[in-house]
Amino acid sequence: MGVGALIARRAALAVATLWLLSVLVFAAGQLLPGDVGRAILGPLADARSVANLDHQLGLDRPLAVRYWDWVSHFVAGDMSRSYAYRAPVAPFIVSALAASVKLGAVAFVLTVPVSLAAGVWAALHAGRAADRVITVIGTWAASLPEFATGIVLILVFGVWLKVLPVSAVWPAGAGIATQLYHLVLPSLPLTLVLFGYLARMMRAGTLEALAADYTRTAVLKGLTPRVVLWRHVLRNALLPAITVTATQTGYLLGGLVVVETLFRYPGIGSLIYAAARDKDFPMLEAGVLTVGVIFIVTGLLADLLYALLNPRIRLGASA
């Protein structure tokens, strides 16, 4: 299969997944709650005001019509109106997403170089103390819930040592340095989880590449260890790590709900959390679907990047 066909097939799959996801989100948001008007007004409201609200919100129309209305507007960037704020959802999503991207970017910048280096270091010293320490830290870091690591970090660095601010919200008009300073502590719980996965993948990838025939060939033809490591081992070991990094983007988005709630940071995670708490279904559906779209698109990009970087796929196409 050529690269073009491969990309087309992968993109078609992504579109199909997106469509199914939209049906799932719609079903969860519109069918599961039963009567939305009743859910908003509470058990004491009389039947007529419930029916009235349902009519105002357009909930008395057939399901297929409601689904089409919702999804076609979403695609056009118009994500219906929030029940809680009585205002269009889209601006809330956009500003929350911008804030989350900032937090996520800090987490990534802190994590990626450190975990890649730790993974390679562990693989080069496989079985020795350094390897064991990195592996154990990685396993524990990846398995602990973010709120648990977050609370310990707040206590140690924010309350006891007082070296980092515990609030993720910086004063208005703060410069980039101050903003980053406030983002370090909230990004650390995410960093720990990402470190666990990424270091483990990088370690496994490096070990595999070290044992591969092409590495032995490179060593036997007299290349210096440095060249073998950078040109032959790391290039191959990076491939799986790239895929994992992209998958972890989706994970990061889930972690944001917890971390942003813990640090009261106004991102997409706390937006989804607030919408869930207020039973603001349009906001909740739009937020959840946005997260799903980001996840599917990053997955698609990771696969494309993998195909472009992997000579077996790239050259297989032109052969």
């Binding site: 199914l20 969860a28 599961l32 709120f147 648990a148 309350v159 994970y251 917890v258 869930a276 909740l284």
Partner: protein, 273 residues
Amino acid sequence: MSGRWRALLRSGGFLTGVLIIVFWTACALFGRLVAPFDPFADDILSALRPPSAAHWFGTDQLGRDVLSRVMVGSRDVLTVAPLATGLGLVLGVLLGLLAGYFRGVVDELISRTIDAVLALPLVIIALLALTAIGPSTATVILVVGVIFAPLIARTVRAAVLSERDLDYVAAARLRNESTLWILFSEILPNVAPPILVEATVRLGYAVFAVATLSFIGFGIQPPSPDWGLAVSESYGLINGGIWWPALFNTLAISSLVIAVNLAADGIHRALNA
């Protein structure tokens, strides 16, 4: 096989994990009998006292003894997480067997739905579902179990794919065995090891997920002494220097998560050795 299990019993990580799980299970069952105070008794006049000789872990915002609550706090998570994993296992094995055995349209349909569910982080899809049907102990089991089903189905499907074309399956077909018999009596026993590994790993995630959902208020509900819930009720006090209710409950839940992961890791190693 017996050699593998003997190696398992010699593995320090596995034993540590099991010991911690047994300890918290014993606390869940008998904690109330040995707890120094009644975990549910309010005493508002002695609220938020720091750790002391009488209250080793201090008291919470209602004056309840934190140590006594931590001791019985494992009860709900140790019920909900295994039940959710069990539900996910039943559904996932069923879906995975069907998708792997029949291939074609059935497989395509099941696999695409699995992808769609997996396109969302567990916490977010659980939040959506729990908002819609209302959070309670039963709905948390249901939602986490249903979300686990596709994850488990993916593992089972992959295992079934490598079994379905083997001779013993063809032989069973020639003997005119029913499809149900082939699926559950021929294939299922042969794919049991990866399912066992998946189940233990899932249990770790279930504890993680239930604790996280309780922390954001969509899991186990008050007045349960559940650890995640207790952290959610007390983390806002940390900035004011009141660290004990949040910290001790955080350490408790962390020890359980790590214990389940150590045990799962041991089983994984033993079965893949």
